[in-house]
Subunit: 311 residues, 2 copies
């Protein structure tokens, strides 16, 4: 892949996504001591950056592949993203979800006409069920984070951010499966001469932090973080990109995530999900390091249950 | 006053306010059956349109008047707006507040260096205390809604909205003291040939609705609405403007306000205060009337206690 790969991904998905706004806040600049530029993917279609990767992955399939449909296992934003992108492209979407997934998440998928296939709530059952659909229907499997087309699609958020703010010194993005941070790192590498990329990860699920140190993919033993979008593992497609192009990963505590989230809500008047607040929490935790710099932050999404908030 | 009065107000306050964005939502358009354009004053400085009227009122004072300071009685957004506008202009702001006002509101005023003068929590005590400051300090009294300069300042939100969307058929704004709807009506009158203005008011405090019918200023007997910004009365400066230029007022129930607010939060991912949701609630309640039309909605503000939500 090269710069052209990302440009093509961007051109491919542009008709199907929002060019989301880049917001600033004088109050949050004062509070953090740097110049913050928030790329607001909470305003993206279906409410998260995942639309970019899902759209690029489906658009990269051949006509024959599209006719057989796509399948993924996810109970979160990627399930909605695949359903919506598939709906817009007239492609059948099979979404494998654990039986005990919240009804609100099932409803979101149904809104976009995704077909839900229920399974037991183990990773093994999810994979087996997805494989079965793949074989029975000939559907193409889409991974939420560990797939090249998804990573390239994700890169377009940072490409747009750098187009609007070419003077960024650093972009921070949250790290879950690694698909967003890998895409962001590729975008900075190809579209900026000086912009570095730093990941932010909840301490409770710091597999990427530990993987960068050990040089091999580490796993989490728990998923006890409020940042539900980040309760997952690095993959073998995105880890090498992260190793090569990501400066480092900063870990933050749960109370720091909640505090950062509340600050964004109260000061910027926008709704962001806990995963989105992780990068801003990393800035607040390391003010000296970021002082006076131009900092981009990818706000990954805004899908949160407003009836069940952590503050 | 004439069109030029409003243009001058806009020029006067422009350096001190944000030109707030106009947002749209495909989902809310589908849900309401019309084309909605939300003028997002929740992104205004201090989080509400009140900044516009306060800035215009202070900027309209003479140099001598500014030196003696300004005084208002408010425990809400206008207190913050006067404090911030005064701070930016190097003017002393005296804010009369009831002793039992929430600490969070007192803190907001202190952030902007407003001087709080406490009084008993009756309208009489508020007025008497404000009058005392006026006499002792020579400070100019600023009314939150019933003052020409405040109304002209408020008009600038709709002026910007009409500049960006000249094809609006109707603009809806919430009605509390009447300062926003009066300013909005003047803006539509002078800056559009076809745009009508409709007010939206909680049924629980429907003094403006009843006043338009009876032809004289009616009062509320209770203030039992969740829309805290609208717990007030029409005034003799704005009522004649409303009589002349506002098409009608639509009343909505409390549960309709809460439902509209939750829809805006969940679908648009922006934080709006209950008062702001009143106008959208009026659209949802009268879908046939607004069907297929281009509708502007003034989102009045976003100052809400995220720890204490109605849903």
């Amino acid at each position: 892949m090269n710069k052209q790969t990302l440009i093509e991904a961007h051109n491919r998905i542009e008709p199907f996504i929002h060019k989301t706004p880049v917001l600033t806040s004088q109050l949050l600049n004062e509070k953090s001591g740097c110049n913050l530029y928030f790329k607001c993917e909470n305003f993206q279609k279906m409410g998260a950056f995942k639309m970019r990767g899902a759209a690029n992955a489906i658009l990269s399939l051949s006509k024959e592949e599209r006719q057989r449909g796509v399948v993924t296992h996810s109970s979160g934003n990627f399930a909605q993203a695949v359903s919506l992108a598939a709906q817009k492209l007239g492609v059948k979407a099979y979404i494998v979800m654990p039986k005990n997934a919240p009804q609100v998440k099932k409803n979101a998928v149904k809104t976009y006409e995704g077909e839900i296939i229920e399974c037991e709530s183990t990773p093994q059952a999810r994979e087996a069920t997805a494989n079965k659909i793949k074989e029975e229907k000939g559907a193409s499997f889409l991974h939420p984070s560990n797939q090249d087309e998804v990573i390239y699609g994700n890169s377009t958020a940072a490409i747009e951010l750098l187009e609007e703010q070419p003077n960024l010194d650093i972009i921070l993005a949250p790290v879950g499966g690694g698909g967003l941070i890998a895409g962001t790192a590729l975008a900075a590498h190809y579209f900026s001469k000086k912009c570095k990329v730093i990941g932010a990860e909840p301490k409770a699920v710091d597999d990427a932090y530990r993987s960068l140190i050990s040089g091999k993919i580490e796993t989490n033993t728990t998923f006890a973080t409020i940042a539900d979008g980040l309760r997952t593992h690095l993959g073998d497609r995105n880890f090498p990109i992260i190793q090569k192009h990501v400066e480092k990963i900063i870990c933050v505590e749960e109370n720091e995530i909640i505090k950062a989230m509340q600050l964004i809500w109260e000061r910027m008047k926008i709704i962001v999900e806990p995963s989105s607040a992780v990068a801003f929490a990393a800035v607040l935790k390391n003010k000296e390091e970021f002082a006076t710099k131009n900092i981009g932050i990818i706000i990954s999404g805004g899908n949160v249950d407003v009836k069940n908030l952590p503050f």
